[in-house]
C-alpha cells in the first residue's frame, strides 16, 4: 500500500511521465480551443485588437502555406497580405472558434487558386530551408531517408493544384480532415477521396 502511494506521488511530480505529458497536452489543447473561441467572438464583435492577434497567430502559417503551394517568396508575401485583406471583409462568414482554421485557410486557398488561374504557365518555386546533410558525416540510412524526402517534396510539387493543396493542408499544415475539407471547400468524403488519389500518385513516384 505504501509502495503504491509512493509510486503515485512520484508519477504526480514527474513531468516527463507519459500520463502527465498527456494531461499537459490536453490542457494546452483546451486552452488553445478557448483562445480560438474568444478570439472568434472578439473578431465577430469587430475589435481591431482581435485582428492584430489573428495576424500574430497566423501570418507565418499562411506565408508558409503559400510557399508550400509552390509560390515564390515575393508572390507568397503578396498573397498572404491579400488573404488577410480578404479575411477582414469576410468576418461575417466566421461561425465559431472551431471553424477559424478552415475559414482562414479557405480564403488563402482561394487567393492562391485565383493566382494560378491568372498565371497558368508559371512554374512552381522551391523552398530553400531544407538541407541534405553532408554524406561523409551522416549515416547511410539517414542519407537514404533524406533522398526519399527530397523525392517526396518533388513529387508533391508535381501533383495537380487540387491534389497538392490536399496534401499540403492535411500533412504539411497539419489541419484535421474536417478543417482541411472546410478549407478546400468540399465535404469530408470528397476530401478523403482526393487524399487517397494524392497518396496513390505519390506512392508511384517515391521509391
Amino acid at each position: 500500500m505504501t509502495v503504491k502511494k509512493a509510486n503515485l506521488t512520484e508519477q504526480d511530480f514527474d513531468s516527463a511521465h507519459p500520463i502527465n505529458k498527456l494531461r499537459e497536452l490536453n490542457k494546452l489543447k483546451e486552452n488553445s480551443e478557448q483562445t480560438r473561441d474568444s478570439l472568434t467572438r472578439w473578431l465577430r464583435a469587430g475589435e481591431h485588437a482581435a485582428a492584430t492577434e489573428l495576424v500574430d497567430i497566423y501570418y507565418k502559417q499562411i506565408y508558409l502555406f503559400m510557399r508550400r503551394l509552390g509560390h515564390d517568396r515575393q508572390v507568397s508575401e503578396d498573397l498572404t497580405q491579400e488573404s488577410f485583406f480578404n479575411a477582414w471583409h469576410h468576418i461575417g462568414q466566421l461561425r465559431d472558434g472551431k471553424a477559424l482554421n478552415g475559414w482562414l485557410y479557405r480564403i488563402a486557398g482561394n487567393v492562391s487558386k485565383l493566382y494560378w488561374r491568372k498565371h497558368k504557365g508559371r512554374k512552381t518555386a522551391d523552398l530553400e530551408g531544407f538541407d541534405v546533410p553532408d554524406s561523409t558525416n551522416a549515416q547511410l540510412d539517414v542519407i537514404e531517408r533524406n533522398e526519399q524526402l527530397e523525392q517526396l517534396k518533388n513529387a508533391v510539387a508535381r501533383l495537380s493544384i487540387k491534389l497538392r493543396q490536399t496534401i499540403v493542408l492535411h500533412y504539411i499544415q497539419q489541419l484535421t480532415i474536417a478543417e482541411s475539407a472546410d478549407a478546400a471547400g468540399v465535404r469530408e468524403g470528397t476530401f478523403k477521396s482526393r487524399l487517397n488519389r494524392a497518396l496513390t500518385a505519390l506512392r508511384k513516384q517515391v521509391t
Binding site: 486552452n31 478557448q34 483562445t35 473561441d37 474568444s38 478570439l39 467572438r41 472578439w42 473578431l43 465577430r44 464583435a45 469587430g46 475589435e47 481591431h48 485588437a49 482581435a50 485582428a51 492584430t52 492577434e53 495576424v55 500574430d56 501570418y59 507565418k60 506565408y63 508558409l64 510557399r67 508550400r68 508575401e77 498572404t80 497580405q81 488577410f84 485583406f85 477582414w88 471583409h89 469576410h90 468576418i91 461575417g92 462568414q93 523552398l127 530553400e128 530551408g129 531544407f130 526519399q148 524526402l149 517526396l152 517534396k153 508533391v156 496534401i167 500533412y171 504539411i172 499544415q173 497539419q174 497518396l199 505519390l202 506512392r203 517515391v206 521509391t207
Partner: protein, 177 residues
C-alpha cells in the same frame, strides 16, 4: 513504398518544407487592418460607415430613410419599396436597442481573451447598469498601480489605483440609488 511508410515520410515534410518568414510581413499586414471591422451586413455596414464619419446616429438614420424614400418616390414604385423602408426602420430600431447589449457582449469576449492569455482582469459586466455609458465594464492591470479600464460605451482609459477606486465607488453609488 508502403502506404504507412509514405504517411510516416509525409509527417516529416513540415520540417523539411520550411524557411524563415520575413518579420516585417506581420507588421505590413497589421497596417492594413481596417479601422472598424464588422460582419458583412448591408444595412448595418451603411449605418456604420456614416457613424464612422462622425455623424450623429439620428442624423445617419434620417439620412438613410430620406434617401430610401426619395429613391422610392423618384422611381414611382411605392409598393415594392414600402416593405424595404419598413425593414430598414426595424433594423435601425433593433440596432439602437441592441447597442448596449452588443457593447457588453464585445467587452465579455475581450475579457475572456485577456483572461485566457493569463492577464489580470476583473469583469464588472454582470451587475452594472448597461445604460450608464461611464460604468466600468472591465479592468486590466498593466503595471504596479496602473490599470486600463474599459467603459460600457467601449472607450478605454489608463488610471491609477486611486482613480479606479473613485470610478468603482461612483458606479456602486449609482447602482444603489
Amino acid at each position: 513504398m508502403g502506404i504507412e511508410e509514405l504517411k510516416e515520410l509525409l509527417n516529416k515534410l513540415p520540417d523539411a518544407m520550411t524557411e524563415p518568414v520575413p518579420q516585417r510581413l506581420g507588421e505590413d499586414i497589421k497596417r492594413q487592418i481596417p479601422h472598424r471591422l464588422s460582419p458583412h451586413r448591408v444595412g448595418m455596414d451603411t449605418i456604420n460607415i456614416i457613424i464612422d464619419l462622425r455623424i450623429n446616429k439620428l442624423a445617419a438614420a434620417a439620412a438613410i430613410i430620406i434617401t430610401i424614400v426619395l429613391c422610392a418616390t423618384f422611381l414611382g414604385d411605392r409598393d415594392s419599396t414600402g416593405g424595404g423602408v419598413l425593414q430598414d426602420s426595424m433594423l435601425l430600431i433593433k440596432y439602437w436597442g441592441a447597442a448596449d447589449a452588443g457593447n457588453i457582449s464585445a467587452g465579455r469576449s475581450k475579457y475572456e481573451l485577456l483572461l485566457s492569455r493569463g492577464e489580470e482582469v476583473v469583469w464588472y459586466g454582470d451587475w452594472l447598469d448597461p445604460k450608464d455609458g461611464n460604468a466600468v465594464l472591465l479592468q486590466r492591470r498593466l503595471a504596479d498601480g496602473i490599470y486600463e479600464v474599459t467603459f460600457v460605451d467601449g472607450h478605454e482609459k489608463q488610471v491609477d489605483s486611486e482613480e479606479l477606486i473613485k470610478l468603482l465607488a461612483r458606479m456602486l453609488q449609482k447602482k444603489t440609488k
